[in-house]
Symmetry: C2
Subunit: 327 residues, 2 copies
């Protein structure tokens, strides 16, 4: 049985999901000969640490660690102090300065700890630096959950499509935009009407800029460009148009001709814009689903679709990364 | 550099594709530290053997080995005689008695050789026996190409969705049927009209029974049931209805209500039948494409689509299996 001591950094919805999933999946982990223990959890209020493994039931009932913290250490300090092999970084993302995630990731890798994350910001800003830090310290660095949530993309390309040359990847990488465009087309309603519906349902933030202006999708395009195509792309290299100017009239006209309009991100061309997609195209998926068409030399075009977000779904992608490191 | 000595058994279109792909992908294999040599190729006319690796260019220009064979040994005899670590079995499939593939596979595994195949018949008839033979002899046994051609399914579930419990898999597993149903719906033509079109284009055999009666799809359902769900299913356990009774009228009526009709295989229910699929469903793909929706506990529903057949595409799935064994 291989013992894995994990430090969970970030305890929002994704952090809760991970703790829940690790608890629920102990039998499968044991079948794979893995003894995965969460020995510390940190958030902005402090950390709870236990060498024998934190008691998930005791921690999961609260939204923060405030009541159960056993240490006032946070972030980088806790990452360095705890005796762990693996850091799971799931703090809120920031695409301007990448913090606090970027500091956490650098602390983890420079301490020789493997790193798994769903946090896009640091990867958008500093992928090459993080990759180099991981290689220099002989650490594994996995980030399936940063693009397309539970939709498998990184591991699909690295594992299943290994041997193929990847020519391009295009798809729907933002569930909020997809929900809004789907509802506009279905009900012939305006952008602002569909947006408030999405906000009411919790699919869009009260300030939806990050999603609807294509910033989130552009970040994912940068991650794919750097991780899959070995480019050294920055956010500013991406030509971005959001969905705020899409009208129900345009959607109706597209429909008449057998098309839908979707916000499509594309690599290696580094573009994000509303595009006409044939109705019968495999990347045409509805509601909050994500999709990606991977164009290869040997396997033709492979398309995957799945839920782009969700606490348990994102946790599932993180668990898959963890297993791929230690199996 | 890890040396892999492979015996290729079967030299039809898939065999040619494999030789071509192994030749073309030497740089990627070397990057993965793999020195993959095809040391023997066998077909019904004999075998060509070369410890240093068979010269692909010299062999690829002919349809059989007749002119280049260096030995009259065939099949099982050649598998046992050649000093190889890996057998790639790609002879024509037979779902009644499984031969000659089944004998080849048993010879490979009982000689302690790893086995990769695209040949469905033996797996439909004797999956449990082959799996046990592989385990008893500490051999790897991989068969991604048997279901959905290049569409990743086995490795996606084993690698990327590891940690998930798989509740069900349903999808389009036969490109010939999908082509016929797509054309019937698009052009409002009869089954027999669409069938002859498919035959003209080489998508359907002159005797199309194997495809249109759902036999091929049922075989894939049996393989998925045994490989993914650990069932001990036989072909006779599958309730099968083919597509020959589907009418253009039924397709038109379905379309009016927002549906298409597709030949759907489903596990673990072990059914194959024409079913109504919502137009917007991710498994609704056109032409000769295959698709599969994998319903999981953590990741929700993941859908993959890709080309179900093709020489190079099938070879790509086989190459991916080989790499996953030796990497």
């Amino acid at each position: 049985m291989k013992e894995i001591k994990a430090s969970l950094v970030g305890f929002g919805v994704v952090g809760h999901g991970i703790l829940e999933v690790i608890k629920r999946k102990q039998p499968i982990l044991r079948d794979l000969d893995l003894d995965l223990k969460v020995v510390s959890i940190s958030d902005h209020t402090g950390s709870i640490m236990n060498e024998a493994g934190v008691d998930a039931d005791c921690v999961l009932k609260d939204k923060t660690l405030e009541k159960v913290a056993t240490s006032s250490m946070k972030g980088q300090e806790a990452i360095k102090a705890v005796d762990s092999d693996l850091v799971i970084e799931v703090t809120p993302t920031n695409v301007v300065h990448g913090q606090p995630g970027l500091g956490h990731m650098e602390a983890a890798l420079s301490s020789g700890k493997n790193l798994v994350t769903s946090n896009k910001g640091p990867l958008v800003l500093a992928f090459s630096r993080l990759r180099k830090l991981a290689d220099d310290n002989h650490c594994q660095f996995k980030y399936e959950a940063t693009v397309g949530g539970t939709m498998p993309l990184m591991s699909l390309i690295e594992r299943t499509l290994v041997g193929n040359t990847i020519y391009s990847i295009e798809g729907i990488f933002n569930g909020t935009c997809n929900y809004i465009l789907t509802r506009m087309a279905q009900e012939n309603i305006s952008y602002s009407h569909a947006l408030s519906e999405a906000q009411d349902l919790g699919y869009a933030e009260s300030d939806p800029t990050y999603d609807v202006e294509g910033i989130d999708t552009a970040g994912k395009v940068v991650i794919l460009a750097n991780a899959i195509f070995g480019m050294d792309a920055k956010y500013s290299d991406v030509k971005v148009t959001g969905i705020t100017q899409v009208t129900p009239e345009a959607l109706a006209m597209a429909k008449k001709r057998g098309y839908v309009i979707k916000l499509i991100g594309e690599v290696p061309s580094l573009t994000v814009k509303p595009m006409l997609v044939p109705i019968e195209s495999p990347i045409n998926v509805d509601s909050t689903l994500n999709s990606a068409a991977i164009v290869t030399d040997l396997s033709g075009t492979i398309t995957v679709t799945g839920l782009g977000a969700g606490s348990i779904e994102t946790a599932s992608a993180i668990l898959s990364d963890i297993i791929s490191i230690y199996r």
